[in-house]
């Protein structure tokens, strides 16, 4: 373990800024527990965490700047590389912004396909999070249980969209291709498999006494703090904040489907865990309502070959697996955007980490970070 941590040698940190007996260590950027190139500068007193300072920028690819030189059809594929676990939802947000600006009417069939794909992505993302969280706590096998179901979703994606992770399936005006003839049957098979296997998750992890004592009462975030730090998604809903974009600002056909917004009020790591587990079941409910009722029709609206947005500013938000993703486009009327800004959910959720773990032990730091469900390329962009 010693080789992975390195004592900072800068004199001003060790002498003036930190008190007697405090130790500043770097966790990351190359550390298996941070799930990517996240660099945490942690001030410790013994095993107690005094301060956590995330350092970003190790995977900054300047996606926002890159998008300024790409056309409105081309820039969507780059956004798959931000939050790669909910690539569909990122593409969806971008496509929706362009449609909103150009006032393109999306066919109902495309809307159904989009929502089903979004929810499948949400389940796949939460599956991976569940496995990775258990791995953070030292349980290795749940990762493989989670990947068993996730693999089924990936196969469905591969068959219909052509790729497993970076699909680039949503285009302005609809979806890129019609669903595969066996898509509906495969999704139904997946729902059956998932329903019989989700109980195993509870048996293996949720009910386990070791897991509960690592989660309950750890990493508490009050409702007020969640709002003031700008947390969204399951992190905020675990603290009792009503913030599901699918409910507050329904887009596409979310208004027509029945589902519950999962809210837990305890605010600790375990309630964030429960929110995600229950959300998977809600997503299954949404897919079940839609999968048999996909209407006939076009899967893509007729659009011009070269898209030109009118002059102005456009903003859309969607609910990804991690929280609220906002896409803000400033257009000068040309074929490329003047400025693009992405409001990523991971960045705001990470900012609350310091507040959540102060005073807890260093082992709980990793457990709490696991419940935030961080995807580093989403934070850095």
């Amino acid at each position: 373990m010693y080789s992975q941590t390195e004592i900072l040698k800068e004199p001003e940190i060790n002498s003036s800024n930190s008190a007697e007996g405090e130790l500043v260590i770097n966790i990351g950027p190359q550390h298996p527990a941070t799930h990517g190139v996240l660099h945490l500068v942690v001030t410790l007193n013994g095993e107690t965490v005094k301060k956590v300072e995330p350092h970003l920028g190790y995977i900054h690819r300047s996606i926002e700047k890159m998008c300024e030189s790409l056309s409105y059809r081309q820039f969507i594929y780059v956004t798959s590389r931000m939050d790669y676990l909910s690539a569909h939802v990122n593409n969806h947000a971008c496509a929706m912004t362009v449609e909103k600006a150009m006032q393109i009417e999306v066919p109902t069939r495309a809307q159904y396909i989009r929502v089903i794909m979004d929810e499948l992505t949400r389940i796949a993302s939460h599956e991976l999070w569940w496995g990775a969280l258990a791995m953070d706590l030292g349980a290795f096998t749940p990762f493989f249980y989670a990947f068993r179901e996730r693999e089924t979703i990936n196969d469905i994606m591969e068959q219909t969209c052509g790729a497993r992770l970076t699909m680039n399936y949503m285009v302005p005006g609809g979806v890129m291709a019609d669903i595969h003839p066996s898509f509906q049957q495969k999704v139904k098979d997946f729902i059956k498999l998932f329903k019989s296997n989700i109980d195993e998750y509870d048996e293996l992890v949720t009910g386990s006494v070791i897991f509960q004592s690592r989660m309950k009462g750890v990493g508490c975030l009050s409702k007020e703090d969640a709002i003031s730090y700008g947390c969204t998604g399951p992190v905020a809903r675990g603290s009792g904040v009503h913030c599901d974009i699918r409910k507050i600002y329904p887009y596409e056909i979310y208004k027509q489907v029945e589902f519950n917004e999962i809210i837990e009020t305890a605010g600790d790591s375990f309630s964030r865990y429960l929110v995600r587990i229950k959300e998977m079941k809600e997503s299954i409910k949404i897919i079940e309502q839609l999968i048999d009722n996909i209407p006939e029709g076009d899967y893509q609206a007729k659009t011009k070959a070269v898209l030109k947005l009118p002059k102005g500013e456009f903003y859309t938000r969607v609910e990804t697996a991690r929280g609220e993703l906002g896409v803000y486009i400033v257009s000068e009327g040309g074929t490329t955007p003047y400025r693009i800004k992405f409001r990523s959910p991971g960045f705001s959720n990470l900012s609350a980490l310091d507040h959540m773990v102060r005073g807890s032990k260093i082992g709980d730091l990793m457990a709490t970070m696991g419940t935030l469900d961080l995807v580093i390329p989403d934070i850095d962009r």
Binding site: Y77, Q159, A163, H180, V209
Partner: protein, 158 residues
């Protein structure tokens, strides 16, 4: 009262651990339910999905003819400058000059398999291939010419 709670805690803790172990034990004695595929060993039977995007290919028919007119729509659609179309001028039997494809240069090392070029193609001359085993020893081997030597455009494709 304290003793009762203490014992009940121990009972529930042991029960929760045993429930988890039971699930693990089930898969230990049911190896047929394991779904892992051993990749290099199953290469003969491994079949990728029809729409899987592995690389851009240009299908040629039996007469070594393709459908590319050299219109550069794919080149314009590509976000990464993966495709470079080099055109030439053919002389038609009537004596007129006609623009035609000379070389379809495809940089596989730059390609992100976004499918935008295939979407943009007006004559369906290119499509996505299923081959995904692209590793080579030298980067220059990833630069490909998609039209076969001596190939020409199919009759009737405009």
């Amino acid at each position: 009262m304290f003793l009762k709670e203490y014992l009940s805690d121990i009972y529930h803790a042991t029960k929760s651990l045993l429930t988890g172990m039971k699930r693990t034990g089930y898969y230990f004695v049911h190896p047929k339910e394991i779904i892992t595929e051993q990749y290099p060993d199953n290469r003969e039977t491994l079949k990728m999905a029809d729409r899987f995007r592995g690389e851009v290919i240009m299908p040629h028919d039996a007469n070594n003819e393709h459908a590319c007119t050299g219109c550069t729509a794919c080149e314009l659609a590509c976000p990464n400058a993966t495709i470079k179309i080099i055109t030439k001028f053919d002389v038609t039997p009537e004596g007129k000059k006609k623009k035609a494809l000379d070389t379809f240069v495809y940089h596989l090392e730059l390609c992100t398999m976004c499918n935008l070029c295939v979407e943009a193609c007006p004559t369906d001359a290119i499509k996505m291939g299923q081959n995904f085993e692209h590793s080579v020893y030298d980067r220059s081997m990833l630069l490909k010419k998609l039209n076969k030597p001596g190939s020409k455009i199919r009759e009737g494709v405009e």
